[in-house]
């Protein structure tokens, strides 16, 4: 099996799905000739032509609006927002239009499409190329939200998102685009179902639930704690809406302790929802307060390396947070 990076896995998923189904098309800024600013659509236009891989005007609301029109006519558009930060001009189209089509038509219309966007920080992207936007979209019934952290998950979940009957916001942690290579399956064997978390590391004393870039960071923190005889179970949510409550609750009932780790700012982040739901559901099993380990409540990640470092969670900070929960 070939070894691929996460961004190559995204590209492979698009290639395979476009080859499989002529209704699948790609649109967005710079996705065609250039193959995307991160090369996630590289070579697609050469293979599938300038209509199925369409360079759009620089206008995100119409990227989402046009994608919706295509979906209503039976095509399966995969629209790219160049950065998740740039999806906000399309917020009305996504939240008021795309997410509500099925509900507001009482099931007469549906809008299966995928909106892909690179998300998160740690790449010197500063305020407008680093934001974590998942909580905005995970709040919206009618949308599904996926946020993979490994190349194989990115491929399998993107393929499943393209085949899903509902609109999917597919967020790709850009810091991981070229971080690792991994072997991966092709075709149908690569598919992964939405809504299933992965137990990334087995442990007994403490459950650490995370997603995206922080999966690897949390595993590293867990390895450090292992030296202190603290055994941490790390769960990667992979899909945020719908999220896998069963796997998470099962783990918390086993360990009795829970930390939720997320890169977005603390207040109202998606991890707050995970913490609240599991606190309610697993109250009788808990031996320590459910704890969030998240980024500070500043508007976004600054450009200066010193300030970016101060913002980002790292293995030290996560380990410190986990240790507090373990020793409570």
């Amino acid at each position: 099996m070939p070894e691929r990076t996460l961004v190559q896995a995204v590209r492979d998923a698009l290639f395979e799905e476009m080859a499989r189904d002529p209704r699948v098309c790609v649109l967005g800024e710079d996705v065609g000739r250039k193959g995307g600013v991160f090369k996630a659509t590289e070579g697609l236009q050469k293979q599938f032509g300038p209509e199925r891989v369409l360079d759009t005007p620089l206008a995100e609301s119409s990227i989402a609006g046009v994608a919706q029109g295509l979906a209503l006519e039976g095509f399966i558009p995969v629209a790219e927002m160049q950065f998740a930060d740039y999806s906000f001009p399309a917020f009305n189209q996504i939240v008021n239009e795309i997410a509500k089509v099925r509900y507001r038509s009482n099931g007469d219309f549906s809008c299966p499409l995928v909106i892909r966007a690179p998300t998160g920080g740690g790449v010197r992207g500063a305020l407008y190329h680093s934001q974590s936007v998942e909580a905005f979209y995970a709040h919206v019934p009618g949308l599904k939200v996926v946020l993979p952290s490994t190349p194989a998950d990115a491929k399998g979940l993107l393929k499943a998102s393209i085949r899903d009957p509902d609109p999917v916001i597919f967020l790709e942690p850009k810091k991981l685009y070229r971080a690792v290579r991994a072997e991966m399956a092709e075709g149908e064997a690569a598919l992964l179902p939405l809504g299933q978390a992965a137990v990334a590391r087995r442990g007994e004393h403490l459950t650490a639930i995370t997603y995206g870039y922080l999966r690897a960071v949390t595993i590293e923190a867990a390895e450090r704690l292992a030296a202190e005889d603290i055994s941490v179970e790390v769960i990667d949510l992979r899909t945020l809406r719908p999220w896998d409550m069963e796997t998470c609750a099962h783990s918390v009932e086993k360990t009795g302790r829970l930390a939720v780790i997320y890169e977005a700012n603390r207040t109202g982040g998606f991890g707050a929802e995970v913490a609240a739901e599991l606190a309610e559901r697993c109250f009788a099993s808990l031996d320590a307060p459910v704890t969030r380990i998240a980024s500070p409540d500043v508007p976004a990640m600054p450009f200066s390396p010193a300030l970016e470092h101060a913002f980002m969670l790292n293995p030290d900070r996560v380990a410190e947070g986990l240790r507090r929960v373990a020793r409570y």
């Binding site: 295509l70 006519e73 189209q93 219309f109």
Partner: protein, 340 residues
């Protein structure tokens, strides 16, 4: 309109009604009468506390029906907006269906009582479900147009909106996209000069909406919205262009808003009474009636008969819709996703 910023020229003479038969015209006229009679009844029901909220098409009916009459419901796609009550009738919605929507009944074909009346949708009729924010249907229509171009079956997408929507970025993004890709789309602006209480001179820079087409390299036409034949001819030409692969067109129909924005608004609070009294005399329905009589397609007797029939339809529709069941509370969580 008094302001020098607003277009105030003269409309060209009404065109020849080519391709229109008496049958088509009387059917269109009946739709116009039906829209007005239903609207009158809805206001009575609103004042009686039976209907929560209405947006009236009063003053727009002739323009709306003329536009749809130039198109092919069942083949074309229609992205309507909330004032398109008469357009919805012309697209095939029945009086009873629109009353079911007004009463928010389970059998409302657009949304099963979920949306306010005025958000029309019916897959089988090609009417794409609407929503209540202003303008998002415009880039959506561009995308539908792109899909129809790819399918190559000669169908087009008609999208309508008021002049207030042309201030939205979505208007410019949608027209730009459709023009770039020569999508078969007709952009139909019903300019009634008022977006709730904001007049055109505080809304639209330049002489009007039609001129904006030039910036996108597509034809922009202004027509008198009370002239059935002028609106029909403009839309028919836009449809010819769209089906021939020549791309989108923008049409601005000048109409008057003979009612307040909605039943929650009272325009007497912010409009000049003299102007309002003047506009009340510009009802497009007597003009359409006169035009049809003058051309020998309508008689007083047929007019009376049509009005009687429409009145009976409205009675039946109201009774049926009022008696129809409300949505079951257990359906609240349905249709969020495909599997629920």
């Amino acid at each position: 309109m008094a302001s020098g910023l607003v277009w105030s020229g003269r409309m060209p003479p009404s065109p020849d009604p080519s391709g229109l038969t008496q049958e088509i015209l009387l059917r269109a006229y009946a739709s116009v009468l039906r829209a007005r009679a239903l609207d009158d009844r809805r206001f009575v029901l609103n004042r009686a506390g039976k209907l929560a909220f209405i947006i009236s098409p009063r003053g727009h009916e002739v323009a709306q029906v003329a536009a749809i009459t130039a198109l092919e419901p069942g083949r074309d796609r229609f992205c309507l907006y909330y004032r398109n009550f008469a357009a919805a009738l012309a697209c095939g919605f029945t009086p009873e269906e629109l009353m079911l929507s007004a009463f928010a009944r389970a059998a409302d074909p657009s949304s099963g009582g979920r949306q306010t009346p005025g958000n029309f949708g019916s897959r089988r009729r090609g009417v794409v479900i609407g929503s209540s924010t202003v303008g998002p249907q415009i880039p959506k229509a561009a995308g539908i147009g792109l899909a129809l171009k790819w399918k190559g079956e000669g169908a087009l997408c008609y999208v309508s909106f008021g002049e207030g929507a042309t201030s939205q970025g979505d208007f410019h993004e949608g027209v730009n996209f459709a023009a770039l890709h020569r999508c078969p789309v007709i952009f139909f602006c019903e300019n009634n000069h008022w977006a709730i209480s904001v007049p055109q001179e505080l809304q639209v820079a330049g002489p009007g909406v039609a001129e904006r087409a030039a910036g996108y390299g597509i034809p922009g036409t202004r027509v008198a919205g009370d002239d059935f034949f002028a609106v029909h001819a403009a839309v028919a030409e836009a449809a010819r262009r769209a089906r021939a692969g020549e791309g989108p067109s923008l049409i601005e129909a000048q109409v008057y808003r003979l009612q307040s924005h909605s039943t929650d608004d009272d325009q007497r609070a912010y409009r000049d009474p003299v102007e309002l009294a003047n506009e009340a005399g510009k009802d497009p329905i007597p003009k359409m009636r006169q035009d049809l009589i003058a051309r020998g397609w309508l008689t007083d007797e047929v007019d009376e008969q049509l009005r009687r029939e429409v009145g009976e339809e409205v009675d039946r529709a109201t009774e049926a819709a009022e008696a129809a069941p409300e949505p079951d509370a257990s359906t609240l969580t349905r249709h969020v996703y495909a599997d629920a």
